[in-house]
């Protein structure tokens, strides 16, 4: 059984494991002993009988022509002939006052059959009731004495006891009295020994169907098939009646006779398979008693079958029970689970009852109530409960598995989403890189070369310096465009590094020093959401600031400060400041330059670029001539957003 795997104990050190097993064994044995004790106590209880005043125990027995006084209950020796059965006769008194109510004869227990005669009239022949003919059932018999037969005062009763084996004859005490007094006791016995077994047999039939379906659906678990077969045999045995005498179907008795050993062999096979045993060839040994008995039934006579039954079937049942007790105890030790425990308890109950029955057969107990068949219902209950338990557990496992699956699928989905987004991002970056490479080659081969030629030509000719500057500016912009398309992984410092080189190349001919100060070691924070167009806006804004300083301020030194500031909202924000020591200009109240129109346009451009990136631009300028020596010149302070906007913001 595969589903036991999760019950397996984790590996423990040998001594620990042995101690655990020993304690488990003791617990298990104590439990079984308690169950057996409870069974014994229950078996010792005698069933309540009708009032003692109607009981007849002292009778005259006429057996083989010899008459003697006996006291019931009486065990009679086995005999195989039906003719001339032992006859018990006695007298009972029906008071005249009781004439109004019907009287009955109640025979609670007998083997194998009784014929009751009152005042020479036969009022009961149990042989006509097939259920009563089975010695393993404790079928009671009751018969109302017809009023016409019964006399006031003394009445004669005689009982003929038919014995046909395989065990000795038996007649329990009998009661003769008012039907109303005897009936409850009869009903109780009928309920326990007739109705209840039928109920259990129905239950067994249902189990046979359930287990059969289970086996058909799960062919890899033959244990279910074996158990289903056992149940089917049991049901057949219970519901097929045994006709007396030689009928055309009497050979069918074989099935019924051999049912007990075959059923016990099947149940034993099930228990072995259930405990993890693999079917072996020698397993057929278990079925030998049943098959022998069946063969005897087919080819031998009834007497032989009955004799064989005692020596084959009864021990087979007992041996099966003993083996099962050991097997279930072992599996309860190795992998404790509810199904094994229930099975073990049922086996203990059955074994106890079987021993009690054996004692009764050998007349070592004063009474003869066979409980083996009845105790089999404990096994049926255990099987049903075990099945239900396993089914519920399997459902729970399925639920758990489904739950796990759902959460795993959800996790995988999340991962997939993330990896898809990452993959998309990577693909986008790769596409951009390829595009950049292509663009770079195109520009390198075409536009770039031509611009370089323009620069060279303008330097050779006279008075065309403006053209050269323009071409140089175009080349610079070309490099910026290509550079900003490069994947810098959100680290603006990488873009600023390239910008520094270009700015230095630009400033060198003008003899302007570039003072580069990265105030915080990492410069500005890394922004994963930084896109090439953000970079272009920021770099062009900085270019604009530098160009203004070169063209309009007559500066000698430009200072670029790069730092990370802790904002009021707790977020770190990058800050880039471009400061010159030039002459500065007036800034009107609306923040535009009051000076040259060109410079004013430059400032407006810078504001617009800053707004697109969500950055704050702060301009301050002091016209030369004020006393604020340290603060002279122009300062452009760009505070980067905590998060760059995804789409191009409105131009400010």
């Amino acid at each position: 059984m595969n589903d036991h795997a999760d019950d397996a104990q984790p590996d423990l050190p040998g001594r620990e494991r042995r101690r655990l097993q020993a304690s488990r064994l003791i617990q298990y044995l104590l439990l079984q002993a308690a169950i057996a004790g409870a069974c014994v106590v229950a078996l010792l209880q005698s069933l309540p009988g009708p009032p003692a005043q109607y009981r007849m125990t002292a009778l005259q027995l006429t057996d083989a022509g010899i008459e003697r006084a006996v006291t019931l209950p009486y065990f009679s020796p086995r005999r195989d002939a039906m003719n001339d059965p032992p006859r018990f006769s006695g007298q009972f008194v029906r008071p005249a006052s009781e004439a109004a109510q019907p009287w009955s004869v109640f025979v609670p227990r007998f083997t194998n059959g009784v014929e009751v005669t009152v005042n020479g009239v036969v009022i009961l022949d149990s042989r006509r009731d097939p259920a009563a003919n089975r010695p393993d059932r404790n079928t009671p018999a009751i018969a109302v004495i017809p009023a016409s037969v019964l006399r006031d005062g003394e009445n004669a009763i005689s009982i003929r006891l038919f014995i046909w084996g395989p065990i000795t004859g038996f007649l329990d005490r009998i009661w003769v009295g008012p039907d109303a007094e005897l009936r409850p006791s009869y009903d109780l016995r009928t309920l326990i020994f007739v109705t209840l077994p039928v109920v259990f047999s129905s239950w067994q039939a249902i189990l046979a169907v359930i287990l059969g379906i289970m086996w058909v659906m799960r062919r890899h678990e033959p244990a279910y098939g074996v158990l289903a077969a056992a149940m089917a045999v049991g049901v057949g045995q219970a519901f097929l009646q045994t006709p007396m005498g030689e009928t055309p179907f009497s050979k069918l008795n074989v099935i019924l006779i051999s049912s007990a050993p075959i059923e016990s062999a099947l149940v034993l096979t099930f228990a072995l398979l259930f405990s993890g045993w693999k079917w072996q060839r020698y397993g057929w040994i278990l079925f030998i008693p049943g098959v022998l008995l069946a063969l005897a039934g087919l080819f031998g006579n009834q007497a032989m079958v009955r004799a064989l039954f005692l020596i084959l079937a009864v021990p087979m049942v007992g041996i099966s029970l003993l083996i099962m007790a050991v097997v279930t105890a072992r599996s309860a030790l190795k992998r404790p689970n509810v199904a094994s425990l229930l099975l073990g308890c049922a086996v203990t109950i059955m074994l106890t009852c079987w021993i009690a029955d054996l004692l009764s057969v050998f007349q070592m107990t004063p009474n003869r109530i066979f409980t083996s068949r009845l105790s089999y219902s404990a096994m049926l209950v255990a099987i049903g409960a075990g099945l239900t338990w396993r089914f519920a557990r399997a459902l729970n496992q399925v639920d758990g598995f489904a739950g796990r699956l759902v959460s795993q699928v959800r996790e995988a989905e999340e991962k997939l989403k993330v990896s898809f987004a990452r993959e998309e991002e990577r693909a986008r970056a790769a596409a951009l890189a390829r595009e950049r490479t292509r663009l770079m080659r195109d520009l390198h081969d075409g536009l770039g070369g031509q611009l370089v030629s323009i620069v060279a030509l303008s330097e050779r000719g006279n008075g065309s310096a403006g053209i050269g500057d323009a071409a140089r500016a175009a080349l610079k912009d070309l490099r910026l465009v290509i550079d900003s398309m490069d994947d810098i992984g959100g680290d603006l410092m990488l873009a600023l590094g390239s910008w520094r080189e270009r700015a230095m190349a630009q400033l060198r001919p003008h003899d302007i020093a570039l003072d580069w100060r990265a105030v915080t070691p990492q410069g500005v924070p890394v922004h994963p959401e930084l896109r090439p167009w953000h970079v272009i806006q920021i770099v062009r804004l900085l270019d604009e600031a530098v160009t203004n300083a070169v063209k309009h301020a007559n500066a000698k030194r430009i200072t670029v400060r790069i730092e990370t500031l802790a904002g009021a909202d707790g977020h770190e924000r990058g800050c880039i400041t471009v400061e010159d020591d030039g002459k500065g200009f007036e800034i009107t109240s609306d923040g535009t330059a009051a000076g040259a129109i060109k410079a004013a346009r430059g400032l407006r451009n810078m504001r617009s670029r800053a707004a697109r990136c969500g950055a704050e631009l702060e301009l301050s300028s002091c016209a030369q001539g004020t006393d604020q020596g340290a603060d002279q010149g122009t300062r452009v302070r760009l505070t980067l957003p905590h998060r760059f906007p995804d789409s191009d913001g409105a131009a400010g």
Binding site: A433, V452, I482
Partner: protein
């Protein structure tokens, strides 16, 4: 800056200049001649080879796209024949495509075609002094190649496994716009040793077997078979 730069010895520095665009060639030649270098100008690979046949120059400046071939071949030849010759590639944009492919065959620097004359002279002077120029974008390209990525990034192939962690740190500093002095102080180096490290980096990126280089040149589309 250096005694080599303006002494009479400057006369002895020979430069072979290979550039197919005539105005650019004149411009570069002018700038170098005025700075006192002895320049042999060439417009094609054949002319350049003829110049090199006369003896090893101190410096080789070469464009890559040439009418009769590719500058990469000349760089490789020169590197093998004259290991002491300093080689620089003349690039229009200073982009990694041209610069890195030249570095892998033995160039140790690059020169922008539109650089100002003073910058041209200064760059060559630094190169002769053992200082290889490197741009932030080239440094960025190299350090990005040192980071493992699931798929090879676009652009020329580059084997960065020989670079030491310190060299990678220096490249990061350059990529982020720090000056040599700042890098030196961050890494606890002497400022003078940084240019030497950069030249070492270039040397480590050089591909030494001819087959490998040709394969890579074909890979990056510089050579069409």
């Amino acid at each position: 800056m250096n005694s080599l730069s303006e002494g009479p010895k400057a006369e002895a520095i020979t430069v072979v200049l290979l550039e197919d665009d005539a105005p650019t060639l004149w411009r570069l030649q002018d700038a170098l001649t005025k700075a006192g270098y002895q320049v042999k100008a060439a417009g094609t690979l054949a002319e350049a080879r003829a110049c090199l046949a006369q003896g090893a120059p101190k410096v080789l400046l070469t464009d890559l796209q040439l009418p009769d071939g590719h500058g990469v071949d000349l760089i490789r030849e020169t590197r093998r024949r004259f290991p002491d010759t300093e080689i620089m590639v003349i690039s229009i944009l200073g982009d990694e495509e041209s610069v890195i492919s030249a570095i892998t065959v033995g160039a140790t620097g690059y020169l922008l075609k539109d650089a100002f004359p003073t910058d041209i002279a200064a760059t060559v002077r630094d190169l002769v002094a053992g200082h290889s120029p490197i741009s932030a974008s080239i440094a960025r390209f190299i350090v990005r190649r040192t980071q493992s990525t699931p798929e090879p990034p676009p652009g020329p192939a580059l084997n960065t496994t020989k670079l030491t962690p310190r060299e990678i740190d220096i490249l990061w500093g350059i990529a982020k716009g720090f000056s040599y002095a700042e890098i030196a102080s961050h890494l606890g180096l002497s400022r003078q040793t940084v240019p030497g490290h950069i030249k070492n980096i270039y040397r480590k990126l050089e591909v030494h077997t001819r087959g490998e280089a040709v394969f890579e040149a074909v890979q990056q589309g510089l050579i069409k078979l």
